[in-house]
Amino acid sequence: MKTRRDFIKISALGAGGLAAAGGAYKWAKGSEIMDKLSGEAADKNLKLNRYPTYCEVCFWKCAGWTHTDDSGNIIKIIGNDDDPHSNGRMCPRGTGGIGMYYDEDRLKTPLIRTTKNGKQTFRKASWDEALEVVAKNFNKIKQKYGPEAVAGFFHGSPGSHLGHTLHAFGSHTEAHPSYAQCRGPREVGFAATFGSGVGSPEPTDIRDTKCMVLIGSHIGENMHNGQVQEMADAIDKGASIITVDPRFSTAASKSKFWLPIKPSTDIALLMAWIHVIINDELYDKKYVEQYAYGFKELKEHVKKMTPEWAYGITTIEPSLIRKTAYEMAAASPAAIIHPGRHATWYGDDTQRERAIAILNALLGTWGRRGGFYFKEAMSLPKYPTPEPPKPKWDWKDIHGDKYPLAALPVSNALVEATIAENKPKHQIRSWLVAGTNLPLTLPNKEQTLKAIQELEFMVVVDTMPMEVTGYADVVLPECTYLERYDYIRTSPHREPNIALRMPATNPKYESKPAWWIAKKLGEKLGLEKYFPWKDIEEVLDWQLYQVGSSLEEMQKVGVKKFERAYGAPYLKQGEDYEFYTNSGKIELYSTEMENAGFDPMPSFTQHEEPPKDFYRLIYGRTPAHTFSRTANNPNLVDLKAEPLLWINPKVASIWGIKNEQYIWLKNQDDKITQFPVKVRVTERIRWDSVFMPHGFGHSNKRLSRAYGKGASDAELITNVNVDPVMGGTGMRANFVTFLTEEPKTETRS
């Protein structure tokens, strides 16, 4: 099919001198410098300099120190001891973050789409020219449709800079896939209950917990550092862990109880636990009486939701359901029913998160030591800039009547509003994408690509030639987090704290920091007055001065802690406390949900079952990788040489599939993976499901180490159950079957 926007492999560009590295990859340019470190003779000659940073390999944002030698080469990254996110210890990705800097596949220069001999290709461009083209096209869209038709898709730090440009330009059409593709349902479910979302880092008081319940959450494989550290501390102190997972996860192997649940039935288990806790009077009576709203209604609601009822749905023995309910109740209030993080599973995810929140409320864990602490963040005043123009419409108008409780824009709604056929009230005509590889991030790749084809103009800002860059009209190379300043990290914690990220070295190639790109683009758009600073250092120094610090101080310490200003992290005995809900109480019965037309209390609903010869596709993390961001990182890529597909031995024997065999996967909609995946036959997975890590199966050859490694789960996620409450994309109702022979190419996705 001829498209107006052909995918361009950046490799096709005569970038020159890019002979593919064969055989063992040695430490890029740093090899000689690294040699200095290994021998003791050289060791004494080495002078290390260190620069504060916070990590951008995942979004836990651990603070650390980037070490360089005296030639300015980055040699290692070590955690900052004062940082509550890392406690001086980075995770493998943070330690290996150095590979992002050395990756020779990085985007090197701005690129502009052009047609040469009838074929679309990229040509190198200067920053001035590339930004000129972007500004010209954005202004064209503004004249034709208004500035609102330019939408931003952001993940991580670049979004805060480019979002400012977008707002100044007059658009509030901006989405972060971290909401509707990830943690949105839990934010809404917890906010409806406690009046406050969960946020990141999660305010789970794991280090002091006596019992932690993980439902599909695989801490340990999901290396959100502070949580993993605190889980290890809790294990040391004898805490019990209860893991609910169809897969024998790492966390399951550390657990006192593992509940190998039938996938998609979690709400039934949660309701049965609630039933036992109410029926057997295990709940925190004083807490519930003082703080909770709707106990009577809840008690009535769960009356028939017995463990025996749940057994038939979940396959978990009633006695085990009771035993685990008693276990968590005995530990309460030092118990945590963990809200998880990636929560978009089946489309009723807000209701599942509500059930989790309700269970926590009954056990009195919210605002209690060993449960959830009241988090507090340092707020830094914004550098004063003029009020941006008010858009005529924004993301809320795109949602319309849909997703009434979405507190943030839903990326899939923005994608739908880009496609003319959907007759959107306001059609989006242009995308500015930064830090998110949309074809692998969003489910339903076909829809994403269809939307891209309808765009009049698309800009992508990234450090790597991710798949999304191949569809851009202009590609802008951002430097890595080790080479740039960003805004101060102000994430909440037990103690308010701030962290600085500063460059440890100059940006490689012609890459530039996002703050610079945002300002220069702003200037090209005639928006100078919104960027009244010389550089970001001026902004940061001004902001830090407002809270009694300075850029100079932060460069020395990296992390600074402050006293809490809004009360203790835990409720005092009988303390008067008003929750930010309609009733001012913890809402077991949610008036917010009810007012929005949804069930005020959660119930189990049946989800799709795998057809014959199909298995439910469960995806997740491996500890050394973050989505597709790390798949090409030279330091991380050889750890799990390849992503593996987990198959139960019984299933493997039915199919005659051997361990380490390569197979292709076909889903219920006949989508077949582009690449084969290696099989791991293991007792650690249920017979009705398969598991694979997310973020692999890259199709861009320019990602020389990631290309063709493993299958992409995103290709197989074509059945999306959207949560009507907040727009989350439920992605766990996809089923796969196995192809042991290479399929003919024309049938492949």
Binding site: A24, L37, D43, A624
Partner: protein, 177 residues
């Protein structure tokens, strides 16, 4: 003095941070590793057990690799650390064959390489890079002869095992159970 390491299998999540930290600390070429993660699964679903271990050279008291080395490149230094002198190594691989733990590899530069317990750090009073970085703090290092060292403290009142004791190598990596 006798250096040793104890690793708590109840806490290790197998994240491989030890592997990455070792690579950056010791300039191990990518694609090679001086330490690695082993996962041992036992049982049948749903009665499954999993042990996750960070493994490396066991710095044995009776090291077959040192005996197998024809040039003396493999040797034992103070504190029982088994080391290789690259300049003396001819890359014959006899030591690789003799090691029951598969802890040695041929470095692309033509010599045999392995874990050194980060003795360049230990000399400065620091822990090996793998121990220093571990997010779960599941690894303990120190002098086994010193009852107050981290490793001695960690092994007190805990059940532990070593790998392949039947090989008679007297290994010095202990796994807390």
């Amino acid at each position: 003095m006798r250096y040793a390491m104890a690793i708590d299998t109840n806490k290790c999540v197998g994240c491989a941070d030890c592997v990455v930290a070792c690579q950056t600390e010791n300039n191990v070429p990518v694609g090679y590793a001086r330490d690695w993660i082993a996962e041992i699964v036992a049982g049948t679903y749903p009665n499954v057990e999993l042990e996750i271990r960070s493994e490396r050279c066991n710095h044995c008291d009776n090291p077959p690799c040192v005996r197998a080395c024809p040039t003396g490149a493999s040797h034992v230094v103070e504190g029982g650390i088994v080391k290789v002198t690259p300049e003396e190594c001819i890359g014959c691989g006899a030591c690789i064959q003799s090691c029951p733990y598969d802890a040695r590899f041929s470095h692309p530069d033509g010599y045999v390489d392995k874990c050194t317990f980060c003795d360049h750090r230990v000399k400065k009073g620091q822990d090996p890079a793998c121990v220093a970085v571990c997010p779960t703090k599941c690894m303990y290092f120190g002098d086994l002869d010193d009852p107050s060292s981290d490793v001695s403290e960690a092994m007190k009142n805990r059940k532990y095992k070593a790998l392949a004791p039947e090989a008679g190598t007297d290994p010095h990596i202990f796994y807390l159970m």
